[in-house]
Symmetry: C2
Subunit: 333 residues, 2 copies
């Protein structure tokens, strides 16, 4: 093993040196304006990867978690996955005509957006259970993939997967370039996000933690085994469920966490409660012109006054989309 | 980005070439006798990493899963984790004296091994729930670590963490050296195995899938958040629970899977049902002299006649510990 270890170390040293040269020549966060948020992120990564720094974090402990809706992509006017479920209802009603006269499916089929906006949590749960379960894992993946390829957001007329925040993609890349494992930790469906996470975020399916339902193992008529998605909730990955989900799926406490709403508060608190260097960041939607501006009274992605107070008290970094980001999307000039 | 990408590719090419030279000089499976099992493993790794082979598997899909008890370490005379739980009972009874007169705790405290061997699943579940939950994640980790450091197996008089199969460690390393992500997929407790997986197997906690209970997020008196282990089962990672757990925790189908008992059958079937090259392997305990020999009637790690029939029918590789392994443990001559 000795020769091999020696060569591996040597190559490691060459690689670090060469990449260092290449890196120095470029700004790792080109879509960011200079300011306290940009500085906090760059300084954190620098300090935690510098062996001479008291803030150094060993490579195996470098875990950074990112909420998705409102943190890495647009969550307005409605969560993308809820949109997906609503748009699945017609196909579902074709297969099960009895649903046509049953609420909340009847309202969805009527196309009355104002009535849909008044759906209760119980209504939404019925729609989610009906559209996300009862099919095999492979069929679900294929349906989501097809829908994402053909569907466009009404405002930007682009696929939802293009409505990701370019500055956040740069942050993820900066962390990964410095030996961090990046995770999506979302209240959205784990299986849903896994369909596109690698392509959109460079994050493989096994690094997506989300709200997860159970599957059931069985055999088809030919004896081939397969997994069916069943309506049994295993993890509600929101609020307290985020640190619980992180423990279940990762088993380590993150050293950096990014969110944008009260659903991320517990994840940021849990991150901060660990020893050593920590980075907690919230994205604040204050850019009505280029994206959206929404505050305490928003139904989706709520950033309450209490959250802002806690952010200030705890020294969390708050990103102003308006001031900190040069551009929002990759397609912006 | 162009310069950087170019340099990164160049370094990649140099590294692969140099490591190739180093590799060629050594046997990747030195603790194995030549035979069909060794050949199947080596040929599978070679074919799936050779871009010119029809069996080539792209790097991101290279997932290999390993059962633990009986596959990577000794499971006799009792699962190590069950031993841990039994030995935790005296400390538990000290904290909760009312348990002293309640079964099955009373029998455990009596030290009567013959009576303990007759425990039902319900008895064991009571002991597991009492000894594995009601404490913080950190406290649990510290207790397991301390126990593993001080406890020795009665037969070999060595820590349990030394009773790992050296030939299987070599297989894990061979897979990782060829770009595979290796996972433990165990019926044992996920949190238990995560305490030592990095040190013993070189597998980080986030790549351990096991039987998992819920945790509950809360705050201590000073307002610091923490997670408590609670007696609510989220995943019973055995039999059909193994492919279900793999989907939940990894979200990809393995291309190679290693097991040793009927508890691993569904994992191997699920692995085999995917497209392209697949490797399914069972460890057969047929070496009473150097380890243990046990067959269809064993209470732990059962290798039934039906399993052997299925292995033959499906073309699964069966490892004979007696014939295929030159040595069992790292400390063997």
């Amino acid at each position: 093993m000795k020769i091999r270890n020696y060569i591996a170390s040597l190559v490691g040293v060459i690689m670090v040196a060469l990449l260092g040269i290449a890196h120095a020549a470029q700004d790792p966060l080109p879509s960011w304006n200079d300011g306290p948020a940009r500085q906090a992120i760059i300084e954190f990564v620098k300090a935690t990867t510098d062996t001479a720094s008291p803030k150094f974090v060993p490579p195996e402990a470098r875990i950074a978690t990112f909420d998705q809706d409102g943190t890495t992509w647009v969550e307005k006017p409605m969560y993308t996955q809820v949109m997906y479920c609503l748009e699945r209802v017609p196909a579902l009603a074709k297969a099960k005509p009895e649903l046509k006269n049953v609420e909340p499916f009847k309202t969805v089929l009527s196309g009355d957006r104002a009535a849909m906006a008044k759906f209760t949590m119980a209504d939404l749960e019925k729609i989610l259970a009906a559209t996300l379960t009862g099919i095999s894992v492979e069929q679900f993946n294929a349906e989501v993939k097809e829908w994402l390829a053909k569907t466009k957001d009404p405002r930007w007329k682009r696929p939802y997967t293009e409505l990701v925040y370019q500055p956040m993609l740069e942050v993820m890349l900066l962390f990964r370039d410095n030996g961090y494992k990046t995770y999506i930790v979302t209240g959205g469906g784990q299986d849903f996000v896994r369909v596109y996470s690698e392509k959109v975020y460079g994050i493989p399916p096994e690094q997506v933690v989300g709200t997860a339902g159970a599957t059931q193992f069985g055999y088809d008529k030919s004896g081939k085994p397969f997994l069916t998605k069943v309506p049994k909730l295993l993890l509600n990955d929101d609020k307290a469920g985020k640190p619980e989900g992180i423990h279940l799926m990762i088993g380590r406490r993150p050293v950096a966490a990014f969110g944008n709403s009260i659903g991320d508060k517990e994840m940021l608190e849990y991150t901060q409660a660990g020893d050593g260097a920590r980075l907690m960041v919230l994205v604040h939607h204050d850019d009505a012109e280029r994206e959206y501006a929404y505050g305490p009274k928003s139904k989706v992605g709520t950033f309450t006054d209490a959250l802002m107070t806690e952010a200030k008290k705890n020294g969390w970094t708050v990103i102003s989309m308006k001031n900190d980001w040069k551009r929002i999307f990759a397609f912006d000039k």
